[in-house]
């Protein structure tokens, strides 16, 4: 690891000010991506600004129509939140599948979606549930937030403060584990809004990161059942292909995971 200066601000404003002062500053959330690349000397931030101890960024709020997860809330806290489990069980379930216990006790939702790893779990829920990402500057809709591989709509220095998920009528998540990393080899989140809209997002599959799956959305909108997807054909074009899964295998997983997610959603 190269030399760096570690900061532990107590407010979002202080964090943003520290970022502006640093020559090449980085925010630290759970650190599961940043710390390993720093240890491998692939990243050399001048300043590391730890958001994990900002009290305003921690907590889960549930209202009658939405679940708001503040950005530095750990996956473990989301998975174990009674109100979140009750309001959107699929979301709490997704959090319980991320990494392993050590990861879940450090990793945060803000860190996960800001990094936008193409195989991370949370982006699938954010996109499928049509969540709103709140930052220290604005609110961004899920459809506008994810911009491809490791890319987001966040401006330099912008801090995610919370993610608000509308409570759906039904939602389910099914994940096929990457055998080595335990990210999603492919994970699919299905949601039916209270207004009757269907949104489906797949992670781990596309070369451009998390994506909506229109063919499955259309089929489920017509008939919300696993069987409705039997005839759906998912194209392998644009899907990732590597030693753990070819693109046609991932195309198959999108369909199979979607079916299992629908079954789980009920």
């Amino acid at each position: 690891m190269y030399e760096t200066t570690y900061h532990r601000p107590s407010s979002v404003e202080e964090a943003a000010a520290l970022f502006a002062k640093g020559s090449e500053a980085k925010y630290l959330a759970g650190g599961h991506t940043l710390i390993p690349v720093m240890k491998q000397r692939l990243a050399a931030p001048s300043d590391v600004i730890d958001l994990g101890k900002i009290k305003d960024l921690i907590g889960v709020d549930v209202s009658s129509d939405a679940v708001t997860i503040k950005a530095a809330t750990t996956h473990s806290d989301v998975a174990q939140s009674g109100p979140a489990q009750k309001a959107i069980p699929a979301l709490a379930y997704l959090a319980s599948l991320i990494g392993d216990p050590a990861v879940r006790h450090r990793g945060t939702i803000g860190g996960s979606i800001a990094n936008n790893d193409p195989a991370a779990d949370y982006p699938a829920a954010v996109l499928a549930l049509g969540a709103t990402v709140k930052t220290n500057k604005r609110t961004i809709s899920a459809d506008d937030f994810f911009k491809g591989l490791f890319a987001t709509a966040l401006a330099d220095g912008e801090i995610i403060t919370a993610v608000t998920f509308p409570i759906p009528a039904k939602a389910g998540y099914a994940k096929f584990l990457h055998p080595a990393s335990r990210f999603a080899l492919t994970g699919v989140f299905v949601a039916k809004t209270k207004a009757g809209d269907v949104r489906v997002a797949a992670t781990g599959a596309s070369q451009n990161g998390v994506m909506r799956v229109p063919a499955i959305e259309a089929a489920l909108k017509a008939n919300w059942s696993a069987a409705a997807l039997d005839g759906v054909n998912i194209s392998a074009d644009g899907l990732m292909s590597d030693i753990h899964g070819s693109s046609d295998y991932r195309a198959n997983l999108i369909k199979v995971m979607a079916q299992r997610a629908v079954t789980a959603a009920g």
Partner: protein, 779 residues
Amino acid sequence: MGVEGIGASVVRKEDRRFTTGKGRYVDDIKLMGMTHAQFVRSPHAHAKVKSIDTSAAMKMPGVVAVLTGQQIVDDKVGNLICGWAITSKDGTPMKMGAWPAMAPETVRFVGQAVAVVIAETKNQAKDAAEAVVVDYEELPAAADIRAAIKPGAPQLHPEAPGNVIYDWTIGDEAATDAAFKSAANVVSLDITNNRLVPNAMEPRAAIGDYNEAEEHFTLYTTSQNPHVARLVLSAFYNIAPEHKLRVVAPDVGGGFGSKIFIYPEEMVALWASKKVGRPVKWTGDRSEAFLTDAHGRDHLTKAELALDAGNKITGLRVKTYANLGAYMSLFSSSVPTYLYATLLSGQYNIPNIFAEVISVYTNTTPVDAYRGAGRPEASFVVERLLETAARQLKVDPAELRRKNFITTFPHQTPVIMAYDVGDFGASLDAAMKAIDYAGFAGRKAKAKSEGKLRGIGLSCYIEACGIAPSKAVGSLGAGVGLWESAEVRVNPVGTIEILTGSHSHGQGHETTFCQLVAERLGVPISQVQIVHGDTDKVQFGMGTYGSRSAAVGLTAILKAMEKVESKAKKIAAHQLEASENDIVIEGGMFKVAGTDKSIALPMVALAAYTAHNLPDGMEPGLKEGAFYDPTNFTFPAGAYICELEVDSATGKTSFVNFVAADDFGRLINPMIVEGQVHGGLAQGIGQALLEGAVYDSSGQLVTASFMDYTMPRADDLPSFKLNHTTTLCPGNPLGVKGCGEAGAIGASAAVINAITDAIGNNKLEMPATPDRVWHAIHG
């Protein structure tokens, strides 16, 4: 057996320090004035080193020295050796290219060191290593066997035209061909034995410490065999003569074979320590472990089995290409030859066997022994063939095996090995009973009705352990003898130290070896200390690998114990005024049989050291040593059966049951044996389902971290059901055979046989990832 004797599941003594974080590993050692080394490693799989500019690095903070491959060559440090000479079928010796500890001219795999930075701290060394400017001229690379043997392939070493190291054969080719000509049925298979990365929990590390006033070196290193390291470093690498080199291997966190070998980093740490006049420490990180620890396996094989009309096997013909990587590691040549092809008879009476093994250079990390070393590859070939034959002939795979089992012993195979004892039918029976083999058809039908694909797979393995009779291995090309040495020291107050050349790096020797003493003398194991891993303390030793510690190392201790007991009986008899022949040892007491006269071991020991009243002419003291050279290999064998289900929608495999019935001879500590089998099965199942080192065509390791290389985890594995059937090994007085490698040898075939049974398609390579299984089902 007593509560702590042979056969007792005594809790491991060493676990107190390991589970409380008090183990002492190489990286825990800090010497006065110690410096830290960081290697500059090649990013290319094949390149000329045109120049190395160290000037900027030398000016970096804390830098003590920057040393290059040319300097180590100029100082006449020897090239790395291969300790087993293999002769090709045309009579020529194996064709070995030079392997300097750091590359002066050409790099041949990603990660090969070209220079080393020595600095005050590890971080300063890392900073400066980035400032070393190496000008490479990239060369085309041959990243796998097929690429290396293609006409016009990039040539790695001038010594080995066409990248072929040797083309070796064993067995009677003409007789085997004749068996195939007259066969009623022939079964053939193309088999890939996937390449594995050992990944011991503790990465390799070394500290070189040169004492100028005494012209003496000390090496602290992660070794399975410190005496072998000293021997090789002195005899071949010109580092120091043996009496001026101490090698210490303290607590070592797993080896699985990968820590047998003497690596460049250890040589450089010693050499650099003299250069800079200070201790030099190198601790590898996980990335370096992936790139530089010797890998395992990596075979391409065509195998054929000939059977007569009655389904008796009449011949086996095998042609294997083995990838040895970019350089020949210490025992690399023996692994795909004498540790592989000699086991191709499996548990079966096969009258004719012929095998050809062609070992090749590729631009990849060197390949050498890894848990099982050659025997897993052999067992996989034989057991996949047997299962395939049963399916082709439409007979029950258990029955086909049983029909061909060797049932009389000793049995001379056509490929050198003489099996001493075994009862293969008993192991198979035990495994079939444990898994309710008879009920499988019903379970498969029920699973099918629920939309699931269920399969069962057998694997009846045999291995050669207790490595090895020195005369025999010498005649086959080994550069060393493979005996073991021991010393038993009874201290004046009766406590005991056992010095052994067997090194413990997870095997539990500090407990099991004490159990022998408890058994013989009736003293508690708390009174016994096992001393190992230091060439200044232990006279000599050949180390730990090949499941040899009990069969060879413990037998050496037994031989020394017998000498100690004999002398102690003489002293006791003298003290008790009885005849030596009447003395019996019971519960720590030397008793005169049939009387109430006795003397306790501590009093005998004290008498030996005070020497006030010893028999006339007897030397004082109570300490004896022994060397033990085995007369044959030992042959652990057993049957593994795996039952599993495959999810046809995703290709994911789920275990239903995995049973093992092993014959290891006498068990010293059944709990430790069980742990060894669990670990071995995890590695065997890991090879079958999860693990695989993959290089891209340019020679970059794609699976260079745990993000891509799938190490088995607890939730990947079933709960194992272990059974034991026992035939005592006649080759050693303890009747032990060895248990360290069995799981890794036998498990893979059982798993692949089960999956291919479940999916009804025999074309499936390891690791059988969900992606591959799904494609096997759906095309």
